[in-house]
């Protein structure tokens, strides 16, 4: 049953134009044009080394941290090109949060993990406000009930799935518009994975989510749109239901069905 929201035309949150990434003289991405709609989940799939992680890291300029990495092309977020040299990267990364493959909470307390971002960006004027932000973020990440009585315990004392939810809470604490998730469940067991997937289903009402995943089924379960990458090129980009029932490209079909390419 298609919900009414989808019938209204959604606007594009992120539009990339001819994005090319080189590591030294090796080209990792060849001219990617992609439009990502707001408040839905877009999945990027493809074999190892196809450039999907490289692409997602362009969106919050994390590739800047890698020496010798050059990113060209325009990346428009809400109409503004963030790939220009005068972009304030610190602010950009507060608007675009990231969750990584291996859960990496800070070696601080649960509270401080979530509070760190708001603190450095000056989002709270008083301890009360900060407490509120932490409470809200942990609740939205589905972790509040499990940890509210031990907020000063170390973030590392949690289980893998809880740590990942803590990282999600940490990312949403700075109130971003977009969440980038690079294989967020690959280090987790199936139950923890299911919990995070349910969380993503809830989060997409508020945030635009781009998720890189190795699991076809996960992309199928979670996303509205799916893009298939291969050797640095984007082969196909369509509604997820089309990709998984009747893809247009042979290469897409071969990859998702586990056929020899």
């Amino acid at each position: 049953m298609k919900d009414v929201g989808k019938l209204m035309k959604k606007k594009n949150k992120i539009v990339t134009n001819n994005v090319t990434v080189d590591y030294g003289d090796k080209r990792a991405l060849h001219g990617i044009d992609l439009k990502i709609e707001e408040k839905e989940v877009t999945a990027l799939i493809g074999p190892s080394g196809c450039g999907k992680s490289t692409f997602i890291r362009c969106l919050n300029r994390m590739n800047d941290l890698i020496t010798g990495c050059k990113v060209e092309g325009s990346i428009l977020i809400d109409g503004t090109d963030i790939n220009l040299p005068d972009t304030d990267i610190v602010e950009l990364r507060a608007r675009i949060g990231m969750v990584f493959q291996k859960p990496n909470p800070f070696p601080k307390s649960i509270y401080d993990n979530v509070a760190y971002g708001p603190r450095i960006h000056g989002l709270a004027d008083s301890k009360n406000e900060l407490d509120n932000i932490v409470h809200k973020s942990l609740k939205r990440a589905g972790l509040w009930d499990e940890v509210h009585e031990r907020l000063d315990a170390s973030g590392l004392s949690l289980s893998g799935g809880q740590q990942q939810r803590l990282c999600i809470a940490r990312a949403i604490a700075v109130n971003p518009d977009v969440l980038l998730m690079d294989e967020p469940c690959s280090a987790l067991d199936p139950i923890a994975t299911a919990v995070i997937e349910e969380l993503i289903n809830e989060l997409k009402e508020r945030y635009t989510i781009v998720i890189v995943t190795h699991s076809m089924q996960q992309a199928a379960r979670l996303s509205e749109k799916t893009a298939y990458f291969h050797l640095g090129k984007m082969i196909e980009y369509d509604d997820t239901s089309n990709i998984f029932t009747n893809p247009k490209h042979e290469m897409t079909e071969a990859y998702i069905s586990g056929r020899i390419g």
Binding site: F244, T245, N246, R259
Partner: protein, 229 residues
């Protein structure tokens, strides 16, 4: 389509295809045998056709259960998913085709002993031959994944309907003129209806073949020759 990297899946799919081919051949044989037996008034053959139907049921059951297992274990998507769903559906269709052939044989058993049988005005064998042709072609189309062949079947159902209608009309006329043969004529109506249903089923198989190849059902409405009479 290239092979799957994990060849165990290909092995499973191959087995299902083999079973469908076997089932298709059996269904064709049953139809052929029942029409020939009717023409030759071969009473012994009628029994063997009726007995043979059990084999079709068994193979259909095997196909269904293989498909079920492959779906559960491999979570196939896109083409692979369509091919398994279509195999299951066509298996069910062919089982019913077999049932109709059995039914024709059963009814034949009854009417060939009638005295008036040799003076049969109705060209039921013509309808039978036509439908046989359809069945053979559509199974070819499915096995060869030939979408044009499949679309031809999809459209040629008109002829089947026409042939059936003419038999129906004629039979009605004979029944009103000569009320002694009502029993035989009634059986003939049922038998030709069976053949017409088999014709319908061939268009179903054509539709499934189209779906398998194109990933969606054909858009044009199937042309029909009659509403009802």
């Amino acid at each position: 389509m290239t092979n799957h990297i994990n060849s165990a899946f290909d092995d499973g799919l191959k087995d299902v295809n083999k079973q469908i081919a076997k089932l298709g051949a059996l269904a064709e044989t049953q139809l052929d045998n029942s029409l020939n037996a009717l023409k030759d008034k071969n009473i012994k053959k009628f029994e063997s056709i009726i007995e043979r139907d059990k084999k079709l049921d068994q193979i259909t059951e095997e196909i269904s259960s293989s498909v079920f297992e492959l779906l559960a274990l491999w979570s196939p998507i896109a083409y692979d998913l369509r091919s398994l769903l279509v195999a299951d559906r066509i298996g069910a269709i062919l089982e019913r085709v077999g049932d109709y052939s059995k039914n024709i044989a059963r009814r034949s058993q009854v009417i060939v002993t009638e005295e008036e049988f040799d003076r049969l005005p109705v060209n039921i064998l013509g309808l039978g031959a036509h439908v046989q042709g359809l069945l053979h072609q559509v199974l070819d189309a499915y096995m060869e994944l030939d979408i044009e062949k499949a679309m031809k079947i999809w459209e040629s159902d008109v002829e089947t309907d026409r042939l059936y209608l003419s038999i129906f009309k004629e039979t009605l006329q004979v029944m009103t003129e000569d009320s002694d043969n009502i029993k035989m004529m009634t059986h003939l109506i049922f038998m030709s209806k069976n053949l017409e249903r088999i014709g319908d089923y061939t268009t179903s198989i054509a539709k499934q073949t189209y779906f398998l190849i194109e990933g969606k059902v054909p858009e044009t409405k199937r042309p029909k020759a009659m509403t009802t009479f």
